[in-house]
């Protein structure tokens, strides 16, 4: 497998060609908007594909640990069931589709765990920890992946 240039490098080269070779030849308003949108999506893909497997792997570990702690503290049945489903049905490989599948299953456990903490006034510290996973881990990475995102073509 030829790993260099990397996928982000290839995608950014396509962006460059579109911007400097194709775009000047495109004069229709609808097509120009489409080109600008495509440029944003290509940059998002370049950012995302560089790290998404590693990020999902890290977050899987963190979500499982958090949900385990919530089950231990609250005995919440929904969270416990979601954890069993996530572990029993995990594909467990680094292939992208498998990682996305495992991430989705484990995210359900995180959802249930946060809901359990919301419903229990004694679990404010655990709730705060769950919200921090949303805000500081998922949220910050989503911000990085948004890259140069903007709503092109409105108004």
């Amino acid at each position: 497998m030829i790993v260099l240039p990397t996928t982000p490098q290839l995608l950014r080269d396509v962006r460059n060609e579109l911007t400097h070779t194709v775009a000047p030849e495109v004069h229709g308003a609808v097509a120009r908007v489409a080109l600008e949108q495509i440029d944003i999506i290509l940059e998002q893909c370049a950012v995302r594909c560089a790290d998404e497997i590693a990020w999902m792997a890290e977050e899987l570990t963190e979500m499982l640990a958090y949900a385990d702690d919530v089950v231990e503290a609250t005995g919440d049945e929904a969270t416990a069931a979601a954890l069993v489903a996530a572990r029993d049905n995990a594909a467990g490989t680094l292939h992208l589709d498998d990682m996305a599948h495992d991430y989705t299953l484990t995210s359900e456990a995180l959802s249930c765990a946060i809901e359990a903490c919301m419903a229990d006034p004694d679990q404010s510290d655990l709730l705060r920890r769950g919200v921090e996973i949303l805000r500081l881990r998922r949220g910050e990475r989503e911000t990085v992946v948004r890259a140069n995102w903007r709503l092109v073509g409105r108004g």
Partner: protein, 353 residues
């Protein structure tokens, strides 16, 4: 609408059906418009000839996108019913809606034909401004005017919620439903739904809501008058749904005329609507900034799900992954801020009692 070469003849024939007082109708120019995000838009130049006298005008067509390329699925018949009602009421400035092809047999897709506004949008105007002048005030007044329309003035074709509680509970449930039906599991949406259910604001009377109030949906004619377009999301709801959606949309794609001076904006709005400060304030607008977003994020997410399943495509849809993540980021931070304010108020009340 999507077969551009055929459209001049098709449109001319369609218009002729509605104008038997005109001998000859010709469409001399037809071009798709950029800027219609959820619908396909086109502008047509039309020539009318009767007894040797020729008149010309421009019209706008607003129709459904080709199958598999929709950013959101909405109902043209619903939009047409709203436009007809607003035209009859005559209290909200809108471009006149002329005709409707209810089946798509004439124009190739269900489409509304309406007046063309010669000016640009409020968005394109304020993007170039460093001083917004009286536009924040005028916009607050405009939203207020819409929110003076009561449910009994609106057509039966629109869903009439049984109560304020029912409306709010439906909106909260829509967060859970959207998450449950999605290909993605979304803990942020589930947390948001739980927080919204635990922190409902004081109620307001139900009113007409535009559903997608934002500067690109306000056109400005050559006399400087505002005209509100894109009524596809219009509904009967809590008026603050619109204030909230305006706030989040304009934060994503500014400028945000509310954020420029929220207290002045809300004071103007309250003066037009007669609503009180207990119900309409920055905290309640913050609540609805989150709550109401699902009305549009939900349909967008449904299209992204179709994209993931290979049932939809297009750069406009793909770009909306950013809209969903932008919402995550803003809503989580907004909840943190509002919870801190709610906790501080509770503490202050505890100290005085």
């Amino acid at each position: 609408m999507h077969e551009i070469d055929l459209m001049p003849a098709r449109l001319a024939a369609f218009l002729q059906q509605h104008r038997d007082d005109v001998e000859l109708i010709e469409v001399t120019d037809y071009e798709p418009m950029a800027g219609g995000y959820s619908r396909s838009m086109a502008k047509a130049r039309v020539r009318y000839t009767t007894d040797g006298v020729t008149l010309e005008e421009s019209l706008v067509l607003r129709g459904d996108p080709p199958p598999g390329h929709a950013l959101v699925d909405t109902d043209r018949a619903h939009e047409w019913a709203v436009l007809r009602t607003l035209t009859e009421l005559g209290v909200i400035p809108i471009p006149q809606a002329r005709y409707y092809d209810a089946t798509g047999e004439h124009l190739g897709t269900k489409a509304i034909v309406m007046d063309h506004v010669t000016g640009g949008s409020l968005q394109s105007l304020i993007e170039e401004m460093s001083d917004y002048g009286d536009h924040p005030t005028r916009l607050a007044e405009l939203w207020g005017q819409i929110h003076c329309i009561t449910p009994d003035q609106l057509p039966d074709a629109m869903a009439h919620p049984s109560s304020w509680e029912a409306r709010i509970d439906d909106l909260i449930q829509s967060w859970r439903d959207a998450e449950r039906s999605s290909v993605n599991s979304d803990p942020t949406w589930r947390y948001i739904a739980a927080w919204l259910a635990a922190n409902k604001p004081p109620p307001l009377p139900l009113r007409l809501t535009h559903g997608d109030p934002q500067a690109p949906n306000v056109m400005i004619d050559h006399e400087g008058n505002y005209l509100v377009v894109d009524w596809e999301f219009a509904a009967i709801g809590d008026p603050r749904e619109d204030l909230g959606w305006y706030n989040i949309y304009s934060t994503a794609a500014g400028p945000n005329l509310y954020e420029a001076d929220p207290e002045a904006f809300l004071a103007t709005y309250r003066a037009v609507t007669g609503f009180g400060e207990v119900e309409v304030n920055q905290l309640t607008v913050g609540y609805f900034t989150i709550l109401a977003s699902m009305k549009i994020l939900g349909p967008i997410n449904a299209q992204l799900d179709k994209f993931a399943l290979g049932e939809n495509s297009g750069a406009t849809t793909a770009l909306q992954v950013g809209s969903i993540s932008f919402g995550h980021d803003n809503f989580i931070n907004a909840i943190n801020g509002m919870q801190a304010a709610i906790d501080a108020m509770a503490q202050a009340q505890g100290a005085t009692s």
